[in-house]
């Protein structure tokens, strides 16, 4: 491995050095070994959708200009891209489906592990979905809401319920261009059909279906996941916690949850506080049981319970390398297969739990919502029993940890700004209108070893804060900000421009608001809808001085998110371009012409400072279009 530092995070670099000395391979090494990566793949011009090929188009024009079937680079790139959308949308939506399932069995009393903690949200959903609430038990209401949500997945015609939350103008655009998703699953299936050999060959038409499936994610699967999780696990509200590898404890049983679905991680919180197991831990010589998280499942239990964060996507192996993790349990999404081999070097037990996600040579304890608590306890017990096997000489816990405030939701903003009696978004709208805030930007997405770990997230975030841009964040980007101390209220004084500082001081909030896991980007959509309803900033999301960015993205889920963000009217800057650059016209469409259709487009910009410039220009242009004053404390 090269000597160059891989991360801006000292804890990460410390463990990386350790890995180097011990000649332990990590994602960073495997990335270096993989270079140079396949150029055809990067440009999106290879196709293996049938076995006449695989085909690849010569980007320099010297070789084949179409595939064997005659597909052009644009067609191939479009097909590949929307298949990424399909995979991403499927991942979020399957997550949403699992939560709906959990709510359903909880309402039927088939599980003891869950209760309805978000009654108010449930009642609001019931009203929205036309479920009767009068003189009915909360379980009956929950049952009907769960069933209605379930139906959204298999629905064959009509419109997804939650698309009606979007501003009227946005809904009209969707209708006009046939973007309104009919059913969550249906749109994903249709992508697979259209991209089959010899079906849809017009890249614009292919993208149309990509948009439709992506909207089925953002305003469907993801939104259902978020809303029903709030119903089951309770509404998050601001909460303090600690992040980074330093949260692991030398003298306690360390359990790290990793993956995405809180159906498991939330119940682990309960199980890890079990008296009997705590007693057992003491018997084994541990002072307690320390639960920590990685990736989005960590965000979920962070928001609702203040459970500490061990790290984000590129730190999952590093957690094991600290030698202090007694058990890492994983469910779905973003879990590296490499964990299995790595764990063999340490005492760490990796346990897979989802029937959808198994790993060779990894112990599988299948999770079922019906038996949630006993299974969770069983896993905690495994961790406790593994504690004595910890090899003291291999334990290296970095000191680095950082405090944070997480747990902001679209609903909480009302209380945050107006309290119980004046619940309102007005101060936020006023802040933008007056020019104290230039606008707001959602910085989200993954880590990617192509970019120095967390660097692009933080550089972009800091650059925008300085320009009086309020940042909201989810997923691994949120965790990057957490570790860097951007999620504490004190960060406003240190990083924010004067206008943003004034707002943070008035409200008492950090300049970067942690809004949850990657499915919770749906929360950001709702914030924007609420801002529009409050008034004074236009009629459609595309009127607002807002933008999105995923500076270090890597997952197909990010492609789906990017698509639904842009299709909702949000300018989105990606740090790594989509693998489509081999198709000139599709690239041109996505980064330019798409704006004529949905009022927003993608930008590709790896340099976070340049990305910040692009975004600031965009925000200023939107401000001008709204005839807002220039920013109050502008240059």
């Amino acid at each position: 491995m090269s000597d160059k530092e891989k991360s801006v995070d000292p804890a990460t670099n410390e463990i990386m050095n350790l890995a180097c000395k011990g000649e332990i391979e990590t994602v960073f090494d495997r990335y270096e070994e993989m270079e140079p990566e396949c150029g055809f793949g990067q440009l999106g011009v290879c196709c293996k959708n049938c076995v006449m090929g695989p085909c690849r188009i010569d980007p320099f024009g010297d070789g084949p200009t179409t595939g064997i079937c005659g597909a052009t680079a644009n067609t191939i790139a479009a097909r590949n891209l929307v298949r990424m959308v399909a995979a991403g949308a499927a991942a979020h939506s399957d997550h949403g489906r699992d939560v709906a399932h959990t709510l359903l069995i909880a309402s039927e009393g088939k599980t003891k592990g869950y209760e309805i903690k978000g009654e108010e949200k449930l009642l609001n959903l019931a009203k929205e979905m036309n479920v009767k609430t009068d003189k009915r038990k909360i379980e009956e209401i929950a049952h009907d809401v769960a069933e209605k949500c379930f139906a959204e997945f298999g629905q064959q015609h009509g419109e997804l319920q939650f698309t009606h939350r979007a501003p009227k103008k946005r809904q009209e655009i969707w209708k006009k261009f046939k973007f309104t998703p009919r059913g969550i699953d249906r749109e994903i299936v249709e992508i697979m059909h259209r991209t089959n050999i010899g079906v849809d060959n017009d890249y614009v038409n292919i993208l149309q279906q990509g948009i439709r499936a992506a909207l089925g994610d953002g305003w469907g699967g993801s939104m259902i996941a978020t809303d029903l999780q709030d119903v089951l696990f309770g509404m998050p509200k601001p909460i303090r916690a600690v992040s980074n590898l330093g949260v692991l404890k030398a003298d306690e049983v360390n359990i790290v949850v990793h993956g995405h679905e809180p159906t498991l991680s939330d119940i682990m919180v309960t199980a890890s506080q079990d008296k009997e197991l705590l007693e057992l831990a003491k018997q084994k010589g541990a002072k307690g049981i320390n639960l920590a998280g990685i990736c989005c499942t960590a965000n979920e239990i962070l928001m609702r319970h203040g459970i500490p964060i061990a790290g984000n996507f590129l730190q999952q192996e590093l957690a094991v390398i600290t030698g202090a993790v007694d058990l890492m349990l994983v469910d779905v999404q973003c879990v590296m297969p490499a964990l299995s081999k790595l764990a063999g070097c340490y005492h760490t037990k990796v346990v897979s739990t989802s029937p959808k996600a198994k790993f060779p040579n990894v112990e599988h304890v299948e999770f079922s919502e019906e038996e949630a608590l006993p299974i969770a306890k069983k896993i905690v017990r495994m961790a406790v029993e593994n504690y004595p096997k910890r090899k003291k000489e291999l334990v290296n816990i970095p000191k680095d940890k950082m405090e944070l405030v997480a747990g902001f939701t679209a609903e909480y903003v009302y209380h945050m700004l107006g309290g119980k009696y004046r619940a309102t978004y007005r101060p936020l709208n006023d802040a933008v209108i007056s020019g104290r805030l230039r606008g707001a930007v959602g910085i989200v997405g993954c880590n990617n070893p192509k970019i120095k770990h967390d660097w692009a997230h933080l550089e972009l975030t800091k650059a925008l804060l300085k320009k009086d841009v309020l940042v909201v964040t989810t997923g691994c980007s949120a965790l990057a900000s957490a570790k860097a101390g951007l999620l504490i209220p004190e960060a406003a004084k240190k990083y924010a421009g004067k206008g943003l500082q004034e707002i943070c001081e008035a409200v008492g909030c950090p300049p970067v608001l942690h809004m949850g896991a990657c499915v919770d980007i749906s929360r950001i959509l709702m914030v924007l809808c609420n801002v529009l309803s409050e008034g004074g900033l236009g009629e459609d999301i595309s009127d607002l001085p807002v933008a999105a960015a995923a500076p270090e993205w890597m997952s197909e889920k990010a492609v789906s998110i990017g698509f639904y963000a842009v299709a909702s009217g949000i300018y989105t800057v990606l740090g790594i371009p989509f693998p489509i650059l081999g198709g000139k016209e599709i690239t041109d469409f996505i980064t330019d012409k798409m704006e004529n259709v949905v009022g927003a487009k993608f930008g590709f910009e790896p340099d976070p400072i340049k990305a910040a410039d692009l975004i600031v220009k965009h925000l200023d242009a939107k401000r001008k279009a709204l005839k807002l004053k220039p920013v109050m404390y502008g240059e």
Partner: protein
């Protein structure tokens, strides 16, 4: 909300809620939970709790859930580091403080500890309604609540004078280091009271609740919002009640906590001390918490922060001029010279001339000037105003003339009463000392006529006669005109015109309310008749009085016209569909809250009672005017109940569809006497000459049983009329 402020509010709210809890426990243990408790003269119980929680506090036991809510709104103080968002929590603490303060002053009333010496204490519903018109017509553009004490008496006086000058109603109270602005003003002999626009509420911050829970009643009375509609009531205050707080001296925790409550109502706080400001906007219209250390600038800063719209007329006279001085009296011992009253002949008169007959701005005094008069003497006066204008009409003369009263009264040290040939004017010694001359009366009139009637009057000249023979010479002509005017207005009927006038003056307070002013039915406030509205429309063609074509007659008896219905629907934001101009029982016209009288059905008597605003006693319905007003106002149609102007009672169209005058079974004695002559005339026309004596009053009955007994005894016509219901 800066963290320091949030922490102070947090401490203050906890302290006050605890104080309320201790006081309540003491009261319950000394008395009982069923002990009755109330503020004087209000239909809104504990108004803040009523508006925000929908609670009707009648007994000590009823306070418990209110206190419980206040306690639930308290929260942890923001931490030293890694604090959680505090703005929302702090606003909640503010509300907790207001609820608790209301409980405390309520309990003080129970123990007769309020009102404090020299203070008004609880502001009654009557005051709220009396000020109604002024709230609406902009004569009172804003409200200041001062808490604390100024560094010295002079600054205290200067500040309130600055507010007075701008017609801003100023509530004074609380204290700083044991000193209250109330005493500062008292020591400087500043006249206080509603008429002077300076109202002392109490000497501690807790009594700061009085102006606040007075303001929230505006949302219920004029805004048409219902009890428990907290957000609507608070936003109404923010959007419509231009109040703000001004703290003088150190701001302690309780002041901060009370201020947070005020901010939740949209009322910003301005401080004269070096406090952390909260400039971002959103809960208030503009900044929330602002400091201004320079006393010369502090009043303009207040006005700017709240967005109060002030119109100051600069009139070149040697005494201050403002609506705030309108209610000021000049007592005998303060008077230098007086005119009219029972002492001399006096009149005022406006007449139209052609433009070339008038030199605009010409003001002459014919007869002795003030320097020629002896101190304490009386002179005759004839205020003879000639006006001209392309749009001026004969019928506007009375409207301009009627304003002379207001115009002259608004000068400090000048007192005016009455109208036409029944006027009484005094000029104070103080004004004389400052150089005020009789001629200045003309200066005022000239300036104000141009300001107010600029759209119809191009030129005005004023002669002031103080010589007996001149006054005597002109008096008969003016009397002729007065008589002519009465006959002209009296002769007009609803049928004689094809156009009525709308009045939406009060929509800024009651968004769905509008008056349809007809020749035979004046506005319910009593201040605007059909001619006034016509003039007002001429003056301001896009203003609140618009001509409305009657259109097709749909129901002559009930007074329903197609054109009126269409207008009503569109101007009430579709809240109303139809108006019956002559009925209380079907689609009655709505009320804003400014009505002079309320007509209400007395089912047992098969008739209506009428109660006027000034009457604070009980009526046969078991409700006072205040209580009744709660259900009549707000722009709602409530069959059986209606607000109207006094003069409507003697109109031929008075509830004609319901049987007219004959249906009146009860009215307060004072009203009966005031209208006696007119009622007698109308009764003659109706063929019941002895009708006046058949109307009961409070000396006869204040319950239905006694009322019926009386009606039967006098054989009241309502008893044998068609059933009302």
């Amino acid at each position: 909300m800066s963290k320091i402020v949030a922490a102070a509010v947090n401490r203050g709210s906890i302290k006050i809620v605890k104080e309320a809890e201790d006081f309540l426990n003491k009261a319950i243990s000394e008395k009982s939970e069923s002990q009755k408790i109330e503020f004087p003269d209000t239909a809104f119980f504990f108004p803040m709790a009523y508006a925000l929680l929908g609670a009707e506090v009648k007994t000590l036991g009823d306070i418990k859930p209110v206190l419980q809510e206040a306690k639930s709104l308290l929260h942890d103080a923001p931490t030293e580091s890694i604090w959680l968002p505090y703005l929302g929590d702090t606003l909640d603490s503010g509300i907790a403080t207001l609820l608790a303060e209301e409980i405390i002053v309520g309990l003080r009333y129970l123990y007769k500890q309020e009102p404090q010496a020299d203070c008004i204490g609880f502001f009654s519903d009557t005051i709220l309604r009396q000020l109604g018109i002024q709230l609406v017509d902009g004569r009172m553009p804003g409200f200041a609540a001062i808490l604390g004490a100024a560094p010295d008496n002079k600054i205290a006086v200067d500040i309130v004078r600055e507010f007075q000058k701008r017609q801003i109603l100023t509530f004074v109270g609380s204290q700083t280091n044991g000193r209250s602005i109330i005493d500062q003003l008292k020591e400087e002999n500043v006249e206080m009271g509603w008429d002077n626009y300076i109202v002392p509420y109490g000497r501690d911050t807790i009594t700061g609740i009085y102006p606040l829970h007075w303001a929230i009643r505006g949302a219920l009375t004029f805004g048409g919002h219902r009890k428990g509609e907290a957000l609507k009531c608070l936003k109404y205050c923010k959007d419509r009640v231009f109040a703000f707080g001004l703290t003088l001296g150190f701001i302690d925790d309780v002041k901060y906590a009370t201020g947070a409550g005020a901010i939740d109502m949209g009322f910003p706080i301005i401080a004269d001390t070096d406090i952390p400001e909260i400039r971002p906007t959103g809960i208030c219209t503009y900044e929330h918490l602002v400091k201004e250390l320079d006393y010369k600038k502090i009043v303009p800063v207040c006005i700017e922060t709240r967005g109060v719209k002030v119109k100051v007329s600069e009139i070149p006279i040697p005494v201050p001029y403002s609506a705030a001085f309108e209610g000021e009296r000049v007592r005998r011992e303060q008077t230098y010279v007086e005119f009219g009253g029972k002492y001399t002949t006096a009149f005022e008169y406006v007449t139209t001339k052609s433009a070339d007959e008038i030199t605009d701005g010409k003001i002459e005094v014919v007869g002795p000037e003030i320097d020629d008069a002896k101190e304490g003497s009386a002179l005759p006066i004839g205020i003879y105003i000639e006006v001209a204008g392309r749009k001026m009409q004969k019928e506007f003369e009375s409207i301009v003339e009627r304003q002379v009263h207001t115009f002259l009264n608004e000068a400090k040290g000048i007192f005016h009463m009455g109208q036409r040939d029944m006027i009484w004017v005094r000029i104070s010694k103080e004004a004389k000392t400052k150089g005020f001359k009789i001629k200045h009366l003309g200066v005022i009139l000239h300036a104000r006529i141009h300001e107010i009637f600029g759209a119809i009057i191009d030129k005005a000249q004023i002669h002031i006669y103080t010589k007996q023979e001149e006054v005597d010479k002109l008096l008969p002509t003016s009397r002729e005109t007065f008589k002519f005017r009465d006959e002209r207005i009296g002769a007009m009927t609803d049928e004689s015109v094809d156009t009525f006038y709308s009045c939406t003056l009060c929509q800024s307070f009651a968004p769905n309310h509008l008056c349809i002013v007809k020749p035979e039915r004046l506005g319910l406030c009593g201040a605007y008749n059909w001619l006034d509205c016509k003039a007002s429309y001429e003056v301001n063609p896009t203003g609140p009085n618009q001509p409305v074509l009657k259109g097709t007659v749909m129901d002559e008896k009930r007074g329903e016209w197609e054109g009126i219905n269409n207008w009503v629907k569109s101007k009430s934001n579709s809240a109303l569909e139809r108006f019956h101009g002559y009925s209380i029982m079907t689609y009655p016209e709505t009320s804003c809250g400014c009505f002079e009288c309320i007509g209400a059905i007395v089912p047992e008597a098969n008739g209506f009672m009428v109660v006027n605003r000034e009457y604070s006693g009980m009526t046969p319905l078991g409700m006072t005017f205040s209580t009744l007003a709660g259900s009549v106002g707000g722009g709602n149609q409530t069959p059986g109940f209606m607000g109207f102007g006094r003069l409507y009672i003697t109109s031929k169209k008075f509830i004609a569809a319901d049987g007219g005058l004959k249906r009146i079974v009860w009215m307060p004695k004072e009203l009966k006497e005031a209208l006696a002559d007119k009622i007698k005339t109308r009764a003659q026309e109706e063929g019941i000459p002895d009708f006046l004596d058949k109307i009961a009053d409070e000396t006869i009955a204040t319950d239905t049983e006694k009322l019926l007994e009386f009606l039967q005894k006098v054989n009241h016509p309502a008893l044998t009329m068609d059933p009302l219901m």
